[in-house]
């Protein structure tokens, strides 16, 4: 049976759709209402509250904490000041991605790392000989993501002991919501203004209630994974096991991806003398680029409509995000594949994340997206564009 997160007593009665998905063994709402549309718009117009407790969480403490984190992740962790958060992938020795997540630097020798899947053994093994303790704190911390343009106003009204309004993008603060000590990070998976709230499970319901109470006047809605999936594609954010396969899970070499191949080259931050897991392989790859690259695609929507109209149908792709792999062609050859795609309600465009041959990954490059209409395959034009597709100023502002 799926487990309940600490918020389940609140989320379950709200989940009118009764659509739950297994997220790391926990029941996680796909939608609360019958459809995800309103929950999606809450992210872009009001505020959405996601229960992200199933994320794996690790605490790294000790004098060598920074050294360990810097050894594990591709970002330069020594460069991360106290009170800041990094988004980063981490790799195996071959420079292929294992997982990705955020690294919170709570203090000089105390970090918190979030991951999609269990990584304790890896982190501990990497710490061999170091004066550091790595603990799995997944069960010790419940987590909420509060995302959307009104999230700041809501949070500022419930948090005491921290200046939420002044919290910069990818910074963290410790404060209280009511009696509950919380960590607030200005992070999220939606590409919008937003925060994540980390709290002990014993305080979870009180925190939920405080946010729900204040949030009502600010367009707050509980939101599920369907809405999150649309938002994260618009934000150009990767999903493990969908947009890339962990090197631990890949049974064949060609399924693995390096950060460069996954569009995360910016997150590989070598420094003279810095050695991190995979650094040599990645240095080599930086000099001799892989033939594969990541690309955002904008698929020509009028063509999709036309293809459906030709058989008398409205476009049946609107609304929901798709995780179906779809071939990308150019000049009659397959040059890559889409890993995630969705109609973007805010942009009114059909957008996709793709793995594509490097020659075709340049913004502006025209390719063809395979579209199946009534069991018949067609191709429709698509264009490589920069991600994020949607990047409002408020995200960083």
């Amino acid at each position: 049976m799926l487990l309940d997160t600490p918020f389940h007593p609140r989320t379950a009665p709200l989940c009118h759709s009764r659509r739950w998905r297994n997220w790391s063994g926990y029941a996680s709402a796909l939608t609360y209402e019958p459809g995800h549309e309103y929950e999606y718009y809450a992210v872009r117009s009001g505020a959405a509250l996601f229960d992200v407790s199933p994320l794996r969480k690790y605490e790294v403490t000790g004098v060598d904490a920074a050294t360990l984190v810097d050894r594990v992740v591709t970002r330069d962790a020594l460069d991360c000041p106290d009170g800041r958060v990094l988004y980063t992938p981490w790799c195996d020795e071959a420079g292929k991605m294992i997982d990705d997540g955020t690294v919170q630097r709570l203090s000089t020798d105390r970090f918190r790392i979030t991951a999609a899947d269990p990584c304790l053994r890896w982190f501990q093994d990497c710490a061999l000989g170091m004066d550091v303790v790595v603990r799995d704190i997944t069960l010790d911390l419940a987590a909420l993501a509060l995302q959307g343009p009104t999230s700041r106003e809501i949070l500022a009204r419930v948090v005491t002991g921290a200046d939420v309004g002044a919290l910069p993008f990818f910074a963290l603060a410790e404060g209280r919501i009511g009696a509950a000590p919380v960590t607030i990070t200005r992070t999220g998976y939606t590409g919008d203004l937003g925060y994540e709230i980390w709290v002990g499970p014993e305080h979870a319901l009180a925190v939920w209630d405080a946010l729900a109470e204040v949030g009502r006047g600010h367009g707050l809605a509980p939101a599920g994974l369907d809405a999150l999936d649309v938002a994260r594609i618009e934000a150009g954010l990767l999903l493990k096991d969908v947009d890339y396969v962990s090197s631990w899970a890949a049974l064949i070499e060609s399924r693995k991806s390096s950060p460069y191949e996954a569009g995360l080259g910016w997150a590989v931050q070598p420094r003279p003398g810095r050695e991190f897991v995979g650094s040599r392989a990645l240095a080599w790859e930086a000099a001799t680029p892989s033939e594969w690259a990541f690309a955002g695609l904008e698929v020509d929507w009028p063509h999709i409509e036309k293809r459906f109209a030709a058989v008398g149908l409205p476009p049946l792709v609107a609304g929901r995000a798709s995780r179906a792999a779809v071939p990308i062609h150019a000049g009659g050859k397959q040059v890559g594949y889409v890993t995630s795609s969705t109609f973007s309600p805010i942009l009114k465009k059909y957008i996709a994340l793709a793995t594509i041959r490097r020659d075709f990954a340049r913004p502006g490059r025209r390719v063809e997206f395979e579209l199946t209409v009534e069991f018949v395959r067609h191709t429709v034009p698509a264009r490589v564009v920069k991600t994020p597709f949607f990047d409002p100023a408020r995200k960083r502002g």
Binding site: S45, P149, E305, K348
Partner: protein, 540 residues
């Protein structure tokens, strides 16, 4: 010599702005002249009461053509349309019909009245989908004139014939019924439940001085069904920031394309020399020159107010004078201290994010029309309510709300007295009617704005306060809109064009007239002549 524009657009409503944006994108030097301090016409958001934003006139979006949204890249200019997912029709006895995106729940709600109707509801939806798909074709073409024999008209009519003959016979029959029947009779073919028929027929009377039992209202119903959001018909939405945000986004796109937009610039007349337009004179006496002038105002203003009668043939004058406006509706906008609490569905649920329709029976609506027929506002009016702040929190301070109430009937011409005398009585009637369904309403009203047809006319210039720039009845549609022979956006004056909702395909925040007219203007300017008259091919 003063600067000469390529095109001056009179009126900065959504159609004038769409028109200007397309012309500017084609490289033309365009100037929009708007009389008010803000653009938008009837598509405006105004903070009449501090902290509360009213979509003062038009209040929902659906008909806006998707190609215009895409081509002008309106999302980049700030347009976001939030879904309006449900319609709640409360009944005086505390019951209701609630229809939302949950198919099964809607089925159950209707089945409480009639299982047959619950099943027919799907069939009805399918039938209207086919109708909307058939008629949608017309929204994107310049209407060919069947009475002319120009090559363009003949090929246009042939294409049109081919399009409609391509329909299945039963669909064609249904279409003819839609064009001729009353909304009530049309719905009778599917449903037996009075309240269901009533609430569905309500979209057949909006903006029209007819009752649900008047022939012609079935088409108006279809017109409201043709709205498309993301490829799906009948989807209605609410523009984030109010409907004014639609106009602001289009204005931003037009400015980016190089159009100049002047506000506080009312136009006094269109200057004509030797049957050809050469500019406009502003109310302040300034004169601006242009190769072409497009009016987005309604046909009465475009033909009768702005141009000297001597420039127009008698049949056009006659046609425009008999063109029916007949404003039939008003608005009441409310600022509320808390959320409205409905007897039929108490509490702060998702129903507040949808429409609430006061349309409990066909007789109720017809009686409301009866009052108006003889020159009174309805004692118990049809009211279409939305609560924008429940959808977009930025419309009101936290925890407070704005409520937009579209009210019908409010006849422009009153039997007794004036609208200035009756405004508050009209507002009281609306509140009294609403309070029957929303018991806490009177206690939470912080401010009310009553908008009568006269106010609509005074503020936006829409003649008689008709929200569509003239009724959408079959005699005023397609090649007859606004008058026979001048449905292709041209006028008898060379270089003078029409681009407002008074032209095909009509009203609603659609933008199609503005875009289609831009095609005609561009074609004519490219051919080096500001054409007059109906002949020639519709520009493309």
């Amino acid at each position: 010599m003063a600067k000469q524009y390529d095109v001056i657009v009179i009126g900065g409503g959504h159609n004038g702005l769409v028109h200007a944006a397309y012309l500017a994108r084609a490289g033309l030097d365009v100037c929009v002249l708007e009389a008010r301090p803000l653009v938008g016409g009837a598509t405006v958001t105004e903070e009449i009461f501090p902290g509360f934003k009213y979509s003062v006139f038009s209040y929902v979006v659906s008909l806006m053509r998707p190609d215009i949204i895409r081509e002008l890249d309106l999302p980049r200019h700030g347009l976001a349309i939030l879904p309006l997912e449900s319609t709640l029709t409360p009944l005086p006895d505390g019951d209701r019909i609630y229809r939302d995106a949950d198919h099964h729940r809607t089925w159950r709600d209707i089945a409480r009245f009639s299982i047959r109707d619950a099943e027919a509801y799907d069939d009805y939806g399918r039938s209207l989908f086919f109708m909307a798909r058939a008629v949608k074709y017309l929204l994107d073409i310049v209407p060919p004139d069947p009475a002319r024999l120009s090559p363009g008209d003949i090929s246009g009519m042939l294409r049109l014939g081919r399009h409609f003959l391509g329909l299945e016979p039963d669909q064609l029959h249904l279409l003819v019924k839609l064009m001729t029947m009353s909304a009530a009779d049309f719905l009778e073919e599917w449903f037996e439940t009075d309240v269901l028929k009533a609430t569905l027929s309500a979209s057949g009377i909006i903006g029209t001085f007819l009752g649900p039992r008047s022939p012609g209202t079935a088409y108006v119903l279809l017109h409201h069904y043709m709205g498309e959001i993301d490829g799906h018909f009948r989807a209605w939405g609410f523009a984030k920031g109010g409907t004014g945000a639609v106009a602001q986004a289009i204005a931003s796109a037009a400015r980016e394309a190089g159009a100049e937009i002047r506000t506080d610039a009312p136009v006094a007349r269109v200057m004509v020399k030797n049957g050809r337009v050469n500019g406009v004179a502003l109310a302040n006496g300034d004169e601006l020159r242009a190769r072409a002038v497009s009016s987005s105002l309604d046909p009465r203003r475009t033909f009768l107010d702005l141009v000297d009668e001597n420039e127009l043939p008698d049949e056009v004058l006659k046609g425009v004078r008999s063109y029916r406006f007949r404003g039939s509706s008003g608005k009441v906008n409310l600022a509320l201290d808390a959320a409205p609490d409905l007897t039929c569905m108490p509490g702060h649920g998702p129903h507040l994010r949808g429409a609430v329709s006061i349309s409990p029976s066909i007789d109720y609506l017809e009686r409301a029309y009866d009052d108006a027929k003889y020159g009174d506002f309805s004692r118990e009016p049809y009211i279409d309510i939305v609560i924008p702040s429940a959808i977009d929190p930025a419309m009101a301070p936290p925890g407070k709300h704005v409520m937009s109430c579209f009210v019908q009937y409010a006849p422009y011409e009153l039997r007794e007295g004036t609208w200035d005398e009756k405004r508050e009585a009209f507002g009281d009637t609306v509140i009294d009617t609403l309070a029957k369904y929303i018991p806490n309403l009177r206690d939470i009203i912080l401010h009310r704005q009553v908008v009568t047809p006269l106010d609509i006319e005074r503020t936006t210039g829409l003649s008689q306060g008709n929200i569509f720039q003239g009724e959408l009845t079959p005699s005023q549609l397609f090649f007859l809109r606004p008058v026979a022979g001048y449905a292709k956006y041209r006028t008898p004056v060379r270089g003078y064009y029409q681009c407002g909702s008074g032209t095909h395909p009509g009203g609603g925040i659609m933008g199609a007239p503005g875009k289609l007219a831009a095609g005609v203007v561009m074609g004519d300017l490219r051919r080096g002549r500001g054409r007059s008259g109906p002949g020639g091919r519709g520009g493309r």
